[in-house]
């Protein structure tokens, strides 16, 4: 029997506001424990929450980006449970009537093969606002204790709940990537899963293909990276299928993903899962988001990835694959467009970004903003190639140096004497020397071993330290070897 998986994701995105959701404390990451706290986020007796409007604005941006419906009136609710890093004994969240319902994102299942274009819509169930809890640090030794850091307590979170539209771990991975892309474009979330500013829980069930009814689902928590999500889901789906195949039954339970052991462990069954006793938060008034506020926020939205991609295709006439890669992040797209202000061959610039620039980013594990090369500098380098001043090969070396030192291409070329040799006579001399030195190879070549042509080119380039204009070398070699 073939089984299919049904997956829904609950994603928590930490919003990039300067201050917390219900008080004025800073949200900066990495401060000393409890340095960013006040009576309000510590939940001290008598204090009251006051909603930070910026968090609403940010969440509305996301709702607009996925085409959701914003509720003109929504409500905050208390989610009651005891834990030391939850100082009030309840978390302020939204339950009935959240900020927004609906919307969708599209994931691209063509695997980079533009010919088999296949998009899938993943519908969004709801988007709402809530506060984060503090962080418990468990110290395990002879007098083991738990320490609590409340810096994160009250940091704004936006929860995005998908419908169970995902049917494979890969789709879940792509969906997360798409959310991340949108959040980054909107500049509302840091999106660093390892730092916890993007978190994800999954609801997973499987059923025999063709079956209409849903299977019993489990909830998988504690997945701390994009790859972790994919792995955890693969693991859990296989686990469920194995159980069903051997005639067993899935239990409705909550599981924790262990990233190191790469397996899930049991957390609790749903029968004993806490009753959160949600009820409307009486310390806050209803959240009203009027049309004109939405319109105002709409006007601040940046161009979103799908639009940008379409525009790149039309305006720069680059292949679809190039447009996808270049618009995968806003910074990359901005870098590209900025470069085009100084350099007018879109495809060549695209090749360089997709090749050399992305390679650097992968090697250095950094963002484009971290590289010391500016778009106009890259453009300058490419112009040197176009003008025949350096060869493409040398340009790649120069590029590396630019990235590392932040110096301009012209400077490096001049200082290292990398200017291309385009003097025909000079190249002829070198060619003759090479041919004289390698008479045997010349004879072999002339008797039909044409592969050796590359060898001669290599030798000439070696002698000229790569500076000879390859076109000229080619041309001259061909002429000389004919005789």
């Amino acid at each position: 029997m073939i089984y299919e998986a049904i997956i829904g994701l609950e994603v928590h995105a930490q919003l990039l506001t300067d201050s917390k959701i219900f008080c004025g404390c800073s949200t900066k990451y990495g401060s000393p424990p409890n340095a960013q706290t006040c009576p309000v986020c510590l939940g001290m007796p008598g204090v009251l929450p006051v909603l930070n409007k910026k968090t609403v604005e940010y969440a509305v941006k996301m709702v607009l980006a996925v085409g959701g419906r914003i509720n003109e009136e929504s409500f905050f609710a208390r989610k009651n449970y005891f834990y030391p890093d939850l100082p009030k004994g309840y978390q302020i969240s939204q339950y009935e009537k959240p900020l927004a319902y609906g919307g969708f994102v599209e994931i691209d299942l063509s695997h980079g093969k533009p010919k088999v274009k296949r998009n899938k819509r993943i519908k969004i169930e709801r988007i709402h606002l809530e506060e984060d809890a503090g962080k418990s640090i468990h110290i395990e030794n002879k007098d083991s204790k738990t320490l609590v850091d409340m810096n994160r307590c009250g940091v704004p979170l936006m929860e995005i709940v998908s419908q169970p539209d995902l049917s494979s771990p890969e789709e879940a991975y792509l969906y997360l990537g798409k959310l991340k892309q949108l959040l980054e474009y909107l500049e509302i979330c840091g999106c660093n899963m390892e730092q916890g500013n993007l978190r994800c829980d999954a609801n997973v069930s499987v059923r025999p293909e063709g079956e209409k009814n849903l299977g019993i689902k489990t909830e998988v928590k504690n997945m701390n990276s994009f790859k972790g999500v994919e792995k955890a889901l693969n693991y859990e789906i296989e686990r469920q299928i194995d159980i069903l195949k051997s005639g067993g039954r899935i239990k409705h339970e909550t599981l924790l993903w262990d990233e190191e052991k790469e397996k899930v462990s049991f957390m609790r069954t749903k029968e004993v899962s806490p009753d959160y006793r949600y009820f409307p938060e009486p310390d806050l008034v209803k959240l009203v988001v009027k049309r004109d506020w939405i319109e105002k926020i709409k006007r601040t939205l940046p161009e979103l990835p799908d639009h940008k991609k379409e525009r790149f295709l039309k305006k720069y006439k680059i292949p679809e694959y190039d447009a996808s890669v270049l618009t995968s992040s806003k910074n990359l797209a901005d870098f590209y467009e900025e470069g085009l202000k100084f350099y007018s061959a879109p495809k060549i610039l695209s090749n360089w970004i997709m090749g050399e620039v992305l390679r650097e980013l992968r090697e250095k594990r950094c963002e484009i903003g971290d590289l010391r090369i500016k778009p106009e500098d890259l453009a300058g380098l490419l112009m040197l190639v176009d003008d025949g001043i350096i060869s493409g090969k040398i340009a790649k070396d120069v590029f590396k140096e630019m990235v590392d030192t932040g110096r301009k291409a012209k400077e490096i070329v001049k200082e290292k004497g990398l200017v291309q040799v385009t003097d025909k006579g000079q190249i002829e001399k070198v060619v003759e020397e090479v041919l004289k030195k390698n008479k045997e190879n010349v004879n072999e070549y002339l008797s039909g071993k044409e592969k050796l042509f590359g060898f001669f080119i290599g030798e000439v380039m070696k002698k000229t330290k790569g500076k000879a204009d390859p076109k000229l070398v080619n041309q001259i070699l061909k002429e000389k070897l004919k005789r």
């Binding site: 007796p45 008598g46 006051v50 009651n80 005891f82 009030k88 009753d275 009486p282 806050l284």
Partner: protein, 479 residues
């Protein structure tokens, strides 16, 4: 006449004309507290040093000709669930017996801004939960009229301190009658303002949608003075109403002839003590003689208000009090084996019986499977009660009722019977459920010489007019 027997507006005149100093006023109050404070037990914390410094500062400011606030040099006491920076704020609970807030409640900040002298923190039912002040970790407050009787709760310490001339002005809090009931039992004025008129910031929450800081005073003019100081919009309280600040002390001699007063018949039915009824009806007649038109109205939702009130206040309390879990605020059981046990043992030991009863019931009504039947239903009935009042206020400007069905009962009389105790609030909870202002005024005494309270309720934000009607009533009673 001793200074501590005077009203705030009388002291204000003496202070402004420099016939007395702030220190002298404070001294008279402190002397009174020291001689008899223990027998009444109305204070949890006496802030003698701080008060003396504040009084001295006011005197210096006055002699140097600097501008002074409206309450300059007037002693004020504050219920112990309202935070005064750097002073204990116990809420009458063992679980907070060591808690010192690093912030002022907005109401306290405003009092300090008007140069009031804060003298101490008054005893109360634990977290405001009680009608007799017997639920205090620090022992019950006694009624100055009869030490064997309750001063009413939960702001019993504030009311008793006024009745025994140990304070001049007092802040209380009113969730279901906690300002008005003790005012009635102690023969003083008690105002619960419109929900949102006084900021709740720094008022330790019992039931957030019902709690309101209130004023306890010796007469209506004082009440207007205190309300003018503490009322006003506060950004730190999202439920506070954004209106321009008002001076409620301005004029008392307006023409009130066109004002209509409703007498809801449901408030005069069974369970109402005969003497209380007679006195309140006499009070209504007095207002008629002043030219007010009165008419009987019907509020069929009245009998449900107690049930609705207790469901909602317990639900909110169960959540509001979750933060007292032993992890913070000083009190934690020493037997800390694991997290769950720390919670259980700390809360078992730290809370009193009534608080635990309400937390358990409140948790129950919010639980899966019961939420609809209790919490949601109560919210629906709350809306019905609101409509009752809206309808009545289409016909009349104010409603007059007794404040409580009885006068002060004996300590220990009802403490073993919570349901009977809860009925003490039968006439007061509606004002909290609907958010309207309500004032309790002294209205004669019963045959034991115990004060009787008359309640006037008004439309939202009608405090200005409400105080004028109350003043007319008070003047009439004097004659």
């Amino acid at each position: 006449m001793e200074l501590n027997h005077l009203r705030a507006w009388e002291l204000k005149k003496l202070l402004e004309s420099r016939e007395v100093s702030s220190r002298e006023v404070l001294e008279s109050v402190l002397d009174r507290i020291k001689s008899d404070g223990k027998s009444i037990n109305s204070f949890i914390t006496l802030m003698e040093d701080g008060a003396q410094k504040a009084a001295l500062k006011v005197d210096k400011k006055r002699s140097s000709g600097k501008k002074l606030g409206a309450l300059a040099g007037i002693p004020v006491v504050v219920k112990d669930n309202i935070c005064v920076k750097d002073n204990l704020c116990t809420c009458g609970s063992g679980i907070l017996k060591n808690f010192i807030p690093p912030y002022d409640a907005t109401a306290v900040e405003l009092l300090k801004g008007e140069d009031a002298v804060i003298v101490g923190k008054t005893n109360m039912d634990e977290f405001g939960m009680g009608s007799s002040n017997e639920n205090s970790y620090f022992g019950p407050v006694k009624n100055p009229y009869d030490l064997k009787r309750t001063p009413g709760g939960s702001s019993g310490g504030s009311a008793a301190s006024l009745a025994s001339d140990m304070s001049i002005l007092a802040l209380g809090s009113d969730t279901g009658g906690s300002v008005r009931l003790p005012a009635s039992f102690c023969g003083v004025v008690g105002l619960k303002p419109t929900y949102g008129l006084v900021s709740r910031y720094g008022l330790v929450a019992f039931a957030s949608s019902l709690d309101q800081v209130g004023c306890l005073t010796k007469d209506v003019k004082d009440c207007a003075m205190l309300l003018s100081a503490v009322a006003g919009y506060d950004q730190r309280d999202s439920t506070s109403i954004n209106i321009v600040r008002k001076d409620y002390t301005k004029s008392w001699e307006d023409d009130l002839k066109d004002i209509k007063i409703g007498v809801p018949k449901e408030y005069f039915g069974g369970g109402l003590n005969k003497e209380v009824k007679e006195n309140v009806l006499k009070g209504i007649e007095a207002l008629e003689r002043e030219g007010f038109k009165t008419l009987e109205v019907s509020m069929p939702g009245t009998d449900r208000s107690i049930a609705v009130y207790y469901v909602l206040c317990m639900a909110e309390a169960s959540s509001n009090l979750a933060r007292y879990d032993g992890a913070r605020y000083g009190f934690r059981t020493k037997e800390t084996f694991d997290l769950d046990l720390m919670y259980k043992k700390t809360r078992t030991k730290g809370f009193g019986d009534e608080v635990k009863r309400r937390i358990i019931l409140g948790t129950y009504v919010l639980s899966k499977g019961y939420f609809k039947a209790y919490y949601q239903k109560a919210q629906k009935v709350r809306t019905i009660i609101k409509k009752d009042f809206d309808r009545a206020f289409e016909k009349v400007d104010f409603l007059i009722t007794p404040t409580s069905p009885t006068t002060a009962f004996k300590l220990g009389e009802k403490i073993e019977d919570p349901l009977t105790m809860y009925l003490s609030d039968v006439y007061t909870t509606s004002a909290n459920l609907t958010g309207i202002p309500a004032i309790s005024l002294p209205c004669g005494k019963d045959s034991f010489g115990l004060p009787i309270g008359l309640q006037i309720m008004g439309k939202p934000l009608s405090e200005e007019l409400l105080l004028k009607v109350a003043y007319t009533f008070e003047q009439n009673l004097k004659r």
